[in-house]
């Protein structure tokens, strides 16, 4: 149940677990910004390498990561196969009468690398946080209260709802329900969803009642320890610089330095 939401957070090395969750949120934001501003495959590949290195450092379970990536890569595969044939440009090769363009291949490669960098980066940086930690970090980063509370309450009741769904499903199976593609199946699923909605609404009313009983007057409070330390600042700076590397290189600002490559 735990692995549904966070990826092996207990396997992380101690130094990483002690870090303030805000560090990862800011780092993830920076990573995404850099990734979308890069347009050259080589620069993107080096950023992806950095992300994979980070995943290794945080001891992210590779099997779990690939499991998560699978759904997303299926979609990417279609895109990668289609793009070379749909982008106009210098022809590279022919396949069944359609010609693939050089620009199309490059575009596909860029999108593939960029998307993988961002997704693996998010899974590594944010996916390893407990959802509660993420909520607190977002709250401390001064995101609108309403959004933070919505997020935290969703996390809190997701499993309660999931349990309710499972109970209803079991009850259906106990009465020999097997999904087919007929009216009976669709109607039964409709009732299942309807019942879940009704129950969720009733539960939300009970939760509100319980909150009112404890003097709720429109404000939720977040209590957590501020753990930001010098190490967090240092690591954030290091990450920002490292991630900025490919971007500086691509925009030609590194050419002045000795050893700076000229594309």
């Amino acid at each position: 149940m735990n692995s549904l939401l966070s990826l092996g957070s207990e396997r992380q090395p101690t130094w990483a677990r002690k870090r303030d969750p805000r560090l990862r949120v800011v780092a993830a934001l920076w990573l995404a910004l850099v990734a979308v501003s890069l347009s050259q495959p080589l620069a993107l590949a080096s950023l992806l390498l950095l992300v994979l290195l980070l995943a290794g450092l945080l001891r992210l379970p590779w099997s779990l990561l690939f499991q998560r990536l699978l759904a997303f890569e299926g979609f990417m595969l279609v895109l990668t196969l289609m793009l070379p044939f749909s982008v106009a440009g210098d022809p590279l090769f022919q396949l069944a009468g359609f010609s693939a363009s050089e620009q199309g291949v490059e575009r596909a490669l860029v999108i593939l690398l960029r998307a993988n960098t961002v997704v693996i980066g998010m899974l590594t940086l944010l996916g390893t946080l407990e959802p509660e930690q993420l909520g607190h970090a977002l709250g401390r980063l001064k995101l609108p209260d309403k959004l933070v509370h919505l997020f935290l309450l969703s996390v809190r009741y997701l499993f309660v709802l999931l349990d309710e769904y499972r109970r209803l499903r079991t009850a259906m199976r106990a009465r020999a329900f097997t999904p087919r593609s007929d009216r009976h199946t669709w109607r039964s699923y409709g009732w299942l969803v309807g019942m879940l909605l009704v129950r969720s609404m009733e539960r939300s009313q009970r939760v509100l009642a319980a909150m009112k009983c404890r003097g709720f007057h429109g404000r939720l409070y977040l209590l957590d320890n501020n753990r930001w330390q010098l190490t967090d600042s240092g690591l954030l700076l290091l990450f920002i610089l490292l991630a900025a590397g490919p971007w500086l290189w691509e925009s030609g600002m590194l050419t002045a330095l000795p050893g700076g490559a000229i594309p």
């Binding site: 735990n2 996390v155 809190r156 009970r206 939760v207 319980a210 009983c213 404890r214 003097g215």
Partner: protein
């Protein structure tokens, strides 16, 4: 509209007084003509069949529903509107039947501190109150735990902590032992017995009534009637079911063919 209850002597002013309360859901009457006075130190067991409105009555006392007739006085004040009930809720704590309804914060400490924070305590104080309350229930180690990963028994105790953190004078317990195993139940009852608060408990659990209640009322035919928890010596035989692993103790017999029972007998509340 604050109308002090002056007709009774100062010492015997009820903490809570319901006068001819009626409630209906839509057009269906749930109960009517409910009269109840709760005195300090009372531990009233509210019993009755399913759907007779026992839980509804508890919710009505803290103002989650409004009665269709009758009046409610608490701590010497007539409570009619939301403002009246808001100040009442700080002094009357309701423990919900389903703890998942009550625990909505990400961590245990935040949930327990939620009430004190609402009462206007600063962060540090609220945290201390929450820690102290948790410690009083033997839950010290749970402060930083994530609420949705607790077991049913743990959730119920934490829910009790969230209520106690507001230091209420009256506790309303809605089926507190429902869904708990014997060990969790005994632990909860032990904690409840140690509490000084006046209580109303809605329950079907005989053991809970035996060990906690000193008064009883019965919800019957749409109204509340006073009941007596009576004790009378009785002789009966019944099967004692012992559950133990196969092969173990199975040949041992009871030394006394009729084991003595004592825990069926209750003190007469009127005595």
């Amino acid at each position: 509209m604050t109308e002090a209850v002056t007709e009774t002597m100062t010492e015997s002013i009820p903490l809570l007084e319901l006068r001819e309360i009626a409630f209906q859901r839509g057009n269906t009457p749930v109960f009517s003509n409910v009269n109840l006075s709760l005195m300090a130190g009372d531990r009233l067991a509210l019993v009755g069949g399913n759907g007779t409105g026992k839980s509804t009555l508890l919710e009505l006392i803290v103002g989650l529903h409004r009665p269709s007739a009758g009046s409610l006085h608490a701590f010497g004040e007539h409570r009619v509107n939301e403002a009246g009930f808001r100040s009442l809720r700080a002094r009357v704590g309701l423990l919900f039947q389903d703890s998942d309804d009550q625990l909505f914060c990400p961590t245990v400490i935040e949930d327990v501190a939620f009430g004190p924070l609402n009462l206007g305590h600063p962060d540090a104080d609220a945290r201390q109150i929450a820690l102290d309350t948790l410690a009083s229930l033997g839950l010290d180690a749970y402060a930083e735990r994530v609420t949705h990963r607790l077991s049913g028994g743990e959730k119920r105790l934490v829910a009790l902590a969230t209520v106690l953190a507001m230091s209420p004078e009256i506790l309303l317990l809605d089926e507190p032992t429902n869904g708990l195993d014997q060990e969790a139940e005994q632990r909860l009852i032990a904690h409840l017995q140690a509490l000084p608060q006046t209580m109303i408990l809605v329950t079907h659990d005989r053991r809970l009534i035996e060990q906690l209640a000193n008064r009883a009322a019965l919800m019957q035919e749409g109204t509340l009637v006073d009941a007596v928890i009576h004790s009378h010596p009785h002789q009966h035989t019944h099967a004692h079911v012992h559950i133990h692993p196969r092969g173990e103790h199975s040949h041992r017999s009871h030394s006394d063919p009729v084991p003595p029972h004592s825990d069926h007998h209750l003190n007469d509340s009127e005595a």
